[in-house]
Symmetry: C2
């Protein structure tokens, strides 16, 4: 049995998220169907994490176990022939037999994109949250780094977040920065792991700050354990991209530096 590590990109627009659901188009379901075709039987594909309906990925990482001895370049070609153009296999590699893309992930990078000007180009609307209304971007830029470090993100979790990791909602964010790039406001975050809806809730909270509904004190209060309030609302899924997943890095010190440079995303 071979363990194969896959790096894939997808346009989440037409999928009900990563996780397979009966009767609905999902990324996992579609990728598993392609592998089933190659392997001749159903094979489970595990990812570094689920992405919500409508969320995109530039370099999601997944893994699968195969009997088929097909050479890697042929496997990639076969998969891309079987998959729709909205899902592309970028890389396939042999991995350690125990490789698990979720449990072994050292860091994940996300990007949230907001289109600022009045007209959103017809080629971009699927990939940005269009918000052409006034925002105090200076305040947003100043607040974004306050999320760096180890914090209790209970206020930023989806209300139905299951209690993984013994129920702890403490997570470490290595880097949390906002940038104004031409007509886009781009929020980039890198952390050890994220709760369900956490990045969209952070993006939505920064937007609330931009609208004048939250300041640094309010944000710090949301990060205080047991604060009892909810952050957000969640920013729309279509502005969110999983950019890349890092493996095998040593422990990091939060807030001391930008996330390390990794492979091209």
């Amino acid at each position: 049995m071979r363990r194969i590590r896959i790096t894939l990109a997808y346009d989440g627009t037409d999928f009900h998220g990563w996780q397979a659901q009966p009767g609905l188009p999902t990324v996992q379901g579609t990728v598993e169907a392609a592998f089933a075709e190659i392997e001749g039987r159903a094979v489970p594909v595990a990812a570094s994490g689920r992405t919500d309906a409508g969320v995109h990925a530039l370099a999601q990482v997944a893994a699968v176990s195969l009997e088929n001895p097909i050479p890697l370049p042929n496997l990639r070609r076969a998969l891309n022939r079987l998959l729709p153009p909205s899902i592309r296999i970028l890389e396939v590699e042999e991995a350690e037999p125990d490789f698990h893309p979720r449990y072994q992930a050292a860091a994940k990078h996300y990007e949230y994109r907001v289109w600022r000007s009045e007209v959103c180009p017809p080629f971009d609307w699927r990939y940005v949250h269009h918000h052409p209304y006034p925002l105090d971007t200076e305040r947003m830029l100043a607040l974004a780094p306050l999320l760096e470090g180890e914090n209790d993100f209970t206020a930023f979790a989806a209300s139905d977040e299951s209690d993984r990791l013994g129920g702890s909602k403490v997570r470490t964010i290595f880097s949390s920065r906002l940038a104004l790039e031409a007509e886009k406001l781009v929020y980039r975050v890198c952390g050890s792991g994220f709760l369900k809806h956490m990045v969209r809730n952070i993006a939505g909270t920064l937007l609330e700050a931009g609208k004048g509904n939250l300041d640094a004190g309010g944000l710090r209060e949301l990060l205080r354990p047991g604060c009892g309030r909810k952050a957000g609302p969640a920013a729309p899924a279509k502005g969110l991209f999983l950019i890349r997943v890092e493996y095998g890095a040593g422990p990091r010190v939060a807030g001391t530096s930008e996330c390390s440079e990794g492979p091209e995303s």
Copy 2:
């Protein structure tokens, strides 16, 4: 009656081209429906030229005559609210009463995009022709400028091209250049006017040259009046973009310089 000049961008993927056709989604039909909503009656919208099914536009120019005195910024906003996100009105301006976007166009710029590497990203496949197979790009780069100047493009016209301009298929190309840009091969052409399918036939002919099926002599032969042969085949529509349309420029001298810099496309 006001004459309004419109600059619009569209993703041609889901449209049966510019020209209105009963029962089919077209760009013209969709834009005319939005104007009819604003004006309270049917109003014809004329463009600088038709684009084929699947062809995109970064800055098509069109014109419409309205009674409605709505201020221009409100008109743009109202149109963009009525239109699907795949069509965006970039600019609306008051124009001379006799402004006609087709008859008064001085030059049109097109771009044809070919994706070269094996995997075409899920965010780009609608906007490129994916051709990851070997091509003699040096030859293609060398041949592209041979199309500059005044030539008989009969060999590059669609077989059903109607005989406009007294039947002449002579056109002037001011600039015809190919560039290799990272994983894309981009053909840029600027000319006084183009026959139906002409740019796609030129792109298809350059691809034939890249495959080794045509050399400089063969290309010159296709441009010889009365050669009787057909160029092409036409490259797929989805790689083609109408980039911008120029008005009011004086006469140009073919082949002596790059096309003038115009407004941002």
